[in-house]
């Protein structure tokens, strides 16, 4: 493909390249040749499970930084950073009362690249900031209006999940700050209507003299696995932080990106 002159022998690299791109392995992975034509570009996007969430074509304005601030993209990028660094941290961290605090210390002082936990921590702070800015941008550009109102709601849920990821991760260092911050934060669940033992309506849920909603059966108890922030709470928050919430958030993110495409593309007028 490099040499158009008929006489010259194709170079070794050219021949190797031609051989490689003809193999079954190559052709089973890259099915549509180089995306040099419009048709091939479309096919490349449409037949890729990751790319197909995105539109085949976008407006020029859609990639202008001024328009989107790239805040949604940055939030997603930070989610990937958190997933990757979090996965690495999980190889060392044990979510029990006996080990949790010392494992965090070890992650900083004994494990190679002790900055890993700091990246995870700062990435989390940055993600909360970018997700708020993303919401602010969507609001300012009016991108919550029909037909995008469904995706606005998906985004609101994702915002809450981001905050819950931050909240559950806050307990894992298992120091005084973490324990008392979660004590204070989870005490709000006491006041949940009907489901919290100090919330409105909870005193109505009685069977004779037996209170159905008390400190050992309310929403806060289900969250902490006990009456105070202890080992059970640490384990529950760990599972929610590492598996539960990321799983739900990941599914909703796929929906979120797909809806962006289906509702008229990124950030343009309809």
């Amino acid at each position: 493909m490099a040499s158009s002159a008929p006489k010259s022998q194709p170079s070794f690299l050219t021949r190797t390249w031609d051989y490689l791109t003809e193999t079954q392995i190559w052709k089973s992975i890259f099915r549509h040749g180089m995306p040099a034509t419009n048709r091939n570009r479309v096919l490349v996007v449409m037949t890729n499970v990751f790319l197909h969430l995105h539109p085949v074509k976008i407006r020029k304005s859609g990639i202008r930084l001024k328009f989107t601030w790239c805040m949604g993209g940055l939030t997603f990028f930070l989610f990937l950073v958190e997933t990757f660094t979090g996965l690495l941290l999980m190889f060392y961290y044990r979510p029990t009362e006996a080990y949790a605090y010392m494992d965090i210390i070890d992650l900083a002082e004994q494990v190679p690249l002790g900055v890993m936990r700091e990246i995870h921590r700062w990435g989390a702070h940055a993600m909360v900031i970018t997700v708020w800015l993303h919401m602010f941008r969507v609001f300012m550009t009016g991108s919550y209006k029909p037909p995008r109102e469904f995706n606005w709601n998906v985004g609101v849920i994702l915002l809450v999940l981001t905050l819950l990821l931050s909240f559950t991760g806050y307990l894992l260092p298992w120091d005084q700050l973490a324990i008392w911050a979660i004590t204070v934060g989870s005490n709000m669940a006491r006041a949940t209507p009907l489901l919290g033992h100090e919330g409105p309506g909870a005193q109505l849920l009685v069977l004779g003299d037996v209170k159905l909603v008390h400190a050992g059966s309310d929403a806060r108890f289900a969250l902490l696995g006990g009456r105070f922030v202890g080992g059970a709470a640490l384990l529950r928050f760990y599972v929610l932080h590492c598996v539960g919430i990321p799983l739900v958030a990941g599914i909703l993110m796929a929906v979120h990106f797909w809806r962006v495409r289906k509702d008229g593309g990124i950030s343009g007028p309809l």
Binding site: W180, T183, V184, A222, G225, G226
Partner: protein, 277 residues
């Protein structure tokens, strides 16, 4: 081909071998539309009347089992071919019925209908039953998953504990020996004892007893309480709570945190909120 399409159902198989020519088969299988209008219309009526059919056939059976054969329990005896013939026609799924098909259909309807197993009645009952069962399964697994979050055994300190003998406490002191284990201060006044629960009424942190300043102070947001438990500074909205304090049978002090007394409700005057020395 047509036979394969119609599948294993016996009623259809004779169609191929029956008098209908092989050219007629596709017309039956693929395009019943032109002539369909006529049979389709009467279909609902005889189906509704289908339970009646055995009754109509009853006279034939009467000879065998006289008179009052209850309608509720249709006879299991095979029905004579001329009996349910009218019912068979509308039930038939094709509009060209040769003698062989007719016979097989009659046979089928007779058996199925007597057991209430027509496709229509099967769907009529299986759909609601199926959805009910499915909903019940989903609902019960939701309940089970929720219940799973509430353990039967808690590895927490018990709500009530014995705090030693009254003589072990010095008059005028706030005793902090049970604070770490059970979250309770026992205050010894000249007249007796009371037990303060070491949970700040602001947001639930644990205050500290500062003997030099003669007050409880919460490190989280700075709430302060007198030794009685009354709040006087910081964001705490109400006094500390007191726990039930009594003498056990062996003469030790028994503190029970599951019974709480709140000052703002006037409960500190109750008998078990204060243990007289």
């Amino acid at each position: 081909m047509a036979e394969e399409k119609t599948g294993p159902e016996e009623a259809r198989a004779p169609e191929g071998g029956g008098p209908a020519s092989s050219e007629a088969k596709p017309a039956v299988a693929i395009a019943p539309a032109p002539a369909a209008a006529a049979p389709v219309a009467p279909a609902p009526v005889p189906v509704a009347a289908a339970p009646v059919a055995p009754v109509a056939a009853a006279p034939a059976a009467v000879a065998v089992a006289p008179a009052a054969a209850p309608v509720g329990s249709p006879p299991m005896t095979p029905v004579t071919p001329d009996g349910p013939a009218p019912a068979a026609l509308p039930l038939g799924r094709s509009n060209t019925i040769g003698p062989g098909v007719k016979a097989s259909l009659e046979k089928k309807t007779a058996g199925d209908e007597e057991r209430g197993l027509s496709r229509r009645s099967f769907m009529k009952w299986s759909l609601p039953i199926g959805w009910t069962a499915f909903s019940a399964a989903v609902a019960s697994s939701l309940v089970a998953s929720t219940r799973f979050l509430f353990p039967n055994v808690l590895f927490e300190p018990p709500q009530s504990f014995k705090a030693g003998f009254p003589a072990e406490y010095n008059v005028g002191e706030v005793d902090t020996r049970w604070k770490d284990a059970f979250g309770v201060w026992i205050v010894r006044e000249p007249e007796g004892f009371y037990a303060l629960i070491a949970v700040c009424t602001h947001l639930g942190c644990s205050p500290n007893w500062l003997a030099a300043e003669n007050k409880f102070k919460c490190p989280c947001h700075g709430s302060g309480f007198y030794r009685t438990g009354i709040n006087f500074e910081g964001p705490a909205p109400r006094p500390l709570e007191r726990a039930r304090i009594v003498l056990a049978d062996d003469g030790q002090i028994l503190v029970d945190k599951s019974v709480k007394f709140q000052q703002e409700k006037g409960e500190w005057d109750k008998a078990e909120a204060f243990l007289k020395a």
